[in-house]
Amino acid sequence: MSKSYLEAGETHCAIGHPKSVFWQWMLTIDHKRIGLMYAAVIFTFFFVAVFVALTMRIELFAPGAQILDGDTFNQAFTLHGVIMIFLFIIPGVPAVFGNIVMPLMIGAKDVSFPRLNWFTFWLYIFGALIALSSLWTGEGFADTGWTFYAPYSLNTNTNVITTLVAAFVLGMASILTGLNFLVTIHRLRAPGMDFFKMPLFVWGIYATAWIQLLATPVVGITLVLAILEKVFGIGIFDPSKGGDPVLFEHLFWIYSHPAVYLMILPAFGIMSEIIPTFSRREVFGYRTIALSSASIAGIGYLVWGHHLFTSGMSDLAKTIFSFLTFFVAIPTGIKFYDWVATMYKGQIHMTTPMLWALGTMVTFVIGGLTGVTIAMIGADIHLQDTYYTVAHFHYAMLGGVVFLLFAGLHYWFPLMFGRMYNEKHAKRAFWFNFIGFNMLWFPMFIAGYLGMPRRYFDYLPEFQIYHQISFFGALVFITGLIYMFTVLISAIKKGEKVGPNHWNATTLEWHLPSAPPPLENHSKVPYVDFRPYEYHHGDPVVKFNYETMQRID
């Protein structure tokens, strides 16, 4: 049996080949190790942002100032938003699972540009450090909200420039990741694997990579213009100097709307892996799922205006954007129905990843359908910038992307570490998370409909009850999160050892010679002349001799 990629010395390095294990990790260009490092850093940031969220929830427990004053609260939700968006969820699924499993799924030895991958990781760390440095330097962390709207961001004295620079650097990292994945998917698929034989997760990553590549530069340059405006006062977005703040909003959302699909598409990919595997049958409507990813990415570019329904944009533009927005819901719906149909006449194994996936079906459907509510112009004029919107995007991002990220974590855990966690505990943790989450965010739909604006640190007493339910939901949710991570972390060292294909799955990443996989993945590259989810009576059709990667079925 070959050595696992986690063992000392089993790695390629960007420069030379250092003896020290520490430097082997710092310089590693192995996609799996880079993915693991991303996971470690990203979850650390997640917990920081979660902690900030908790302070916000405490502040909102009752009207009046509790523990934060207005300005600190403003910095708190900015910090929360910036970390969650730029440091956690945008790199999220692609950087972790895109790196770890995507090359395995297409039978590649690594990504196309492994050194670039290494550089990207450190660029990400660099950007993160800049973002955090602004906490302690200058006038304190930015207080603009993660949207940086002009002219507020131009006038405020807080450390906006540093935050903008950080967002720019993180954007670069995201672009380079996307570029690397695009070339990898185009060039390094195993022979025989055409686009319609790729696993659906790869499709998700592929669609996302296009968004990273083509949308991110727009926000990048917008941030640069805002920085120049702040430094030199040339007035690009400042109405008192002839500029136009609404232009900023356009340019910002030209990126940031596609960015939400950048988050969700690879997460949907995870769903498309888990459902067929645990239904033990072929996925329903492979092509429609694959193509709907592509069309969501495509249409996603055309709908940014739905964030500007109350900005003073012309009614015609509002109408067009509203109309186009509805067209995103249709391919998304097709995906959901395909997943449900995949369960039909299958044999459903209710493992932890499956539980997370099905839980997400519930939460994301709520998130998506409430998105449709605010895509209706008249409704959004009422609901824009209220807690209804906030609840919508937490349902979509937390109940969609983050839940699926957790699902993926449970699904690929045995692959990454060659060990299993305790499923009984893991399932219990799921229920804490699921119930806590709904209790945390569902009341906010009602508060928002009744007129509770967002970014308020103090509010009218009428809304207290909703905020209090929400607070207790947050507590349950915390418990669940800590529980879940405890179960997983303790399993890295102590979990029961398992073989390479613990779940009886069909895609290539499960046909490795060992678990955890060796440095250069498959011992031989297989010839792929089969569809990704071929099951026959509940057993994978395709079997390999893991030494020669010849099919033995």
């Binding site: 390629h12 390095c13 420069i15 030379g16 080949h17 590649a108 030895k109 690594d110 990504v111 196309s112 540009f113 492994p114 672009i175 570029l179 690397n180 695009l182 070339v183 990898t184 185009h186 060039r187 390094l188 195993a190 022979p191 025989g192 590549l213 083509l214 949308a215 991110t216 530069p217 727009v218 990048g220 340059i221 917008t222 640069v224 213009l225 120049l228 405006e229 030199f232 006062g233 040339i234 007035g235 690009i236 008192s240 100097k241 002839g242 500029g243 136009d244 232009l247 340019l251 030209i254 250069e520 031989k524 590259v525 297989p526 010839y527 002349d529 990667m549 010849q550 099919r551």
Partner: protein
């Protein structure tokens, strides 16, 4: 660094289909088309970036039409035009260099790269002259003329125009400097025998990059220098 030590070398692999047919496996090392595709994708990001800037510029042009024309008429078409021609020729030398490299004439290729670098420096020098003049005329980022709300300031539309001018030509100039750096690196790699007629993806991509830098100028030039040409002054 030697590759052999830790198995980095590309060992061509073969996959066998069920019926015994063999297919070559594409590895990431030495994948010419992959390198080219990656670089094109990178260039698309530049297109989007400058696209967004041109969008901003056009937006303000329609908002402050007359100020833009007025400000543009102050530029020297002569200097800008010269620079256009300089860049044009440098694109040619760069292209010829690549042709020579591919035809096996490494020495000629190097010569052409040197020529390109010199032209790039000429471009920067002329740009420098223009910026210095602007500075002496008091029109420069941070100077009072380009800051609203004081007695010396220009009309708002002109401030925007010049602001965008320095931003965009500055960014373009930065790309030129980067290009010179890349060419120096390319020369180093050629001398070290890492870039050869058989393995010239680096040269190829840097040539593409240079064309992109030229391409951006093709739009920057008329936008800033020509829209006001022929209006007074």
């Amino acid at each position: 660094m030697s590759h052999e030590e830790h198995g980095h070398e590309y060992v061509p692999e073969i996959a066998t289909a069920r019926d015994g047919k063999q297919y070559e496996v594409q590895g990431w090392q030495g994948d010419f088309y992959g390198g080219k595709l990656g670089f094109w994708l990178f260039m698309l990001t530049e297109v989007m970036m400058f696209g967004a800037m041109f969008l901003t510029l056009t937006y303000y042009f329609s908002l402050h039409h007359d100020d833009f024309i007025e400000a543009s008429s102050e530029f020297s078409v002569l200097l800008g035009g010269t620079n256009t021609v300089v860049l044009l020729i440098s694109a040619l030398t760069m292209g010829l260099g690549l042709l020579k490299m591919r035809a096996g004439d490494v020495k000629g290729a190097k010569l052409m790269i040197y020529a390109t670098m010199i032209l790039a420096l000429v471009f920067l020098a002329i740009k420098g002259v223009e910026w210095t003049e602007d500075y002496h005329d008091g029109v420069f980022l941070g100077l009072p003329a380009l800051q609203a709300g004081n007695p010396d300031s220009r009309p708002l539309g002109e401030i925007l125009f010049f602001g965008m001018y320095f931003t965009m030509t500055g960014l373009h100039g930065f790309h030129i400097i980067l290009g010179i750096g890349l060419m120096l690196w390319l020369l180093k790699r050629i001398n070290a025998g890492k870039v050869t007629p058989e393995h010239h993806i680096l040269h190829f991509n840097i040539a593409l990059y240079w064309d992109l830098v030229h391409l951006i100028w093709v739009f920057v030039f008329p936008y800033f220098y020509m829209i006001g040409a022929g209006h007074g002054h």
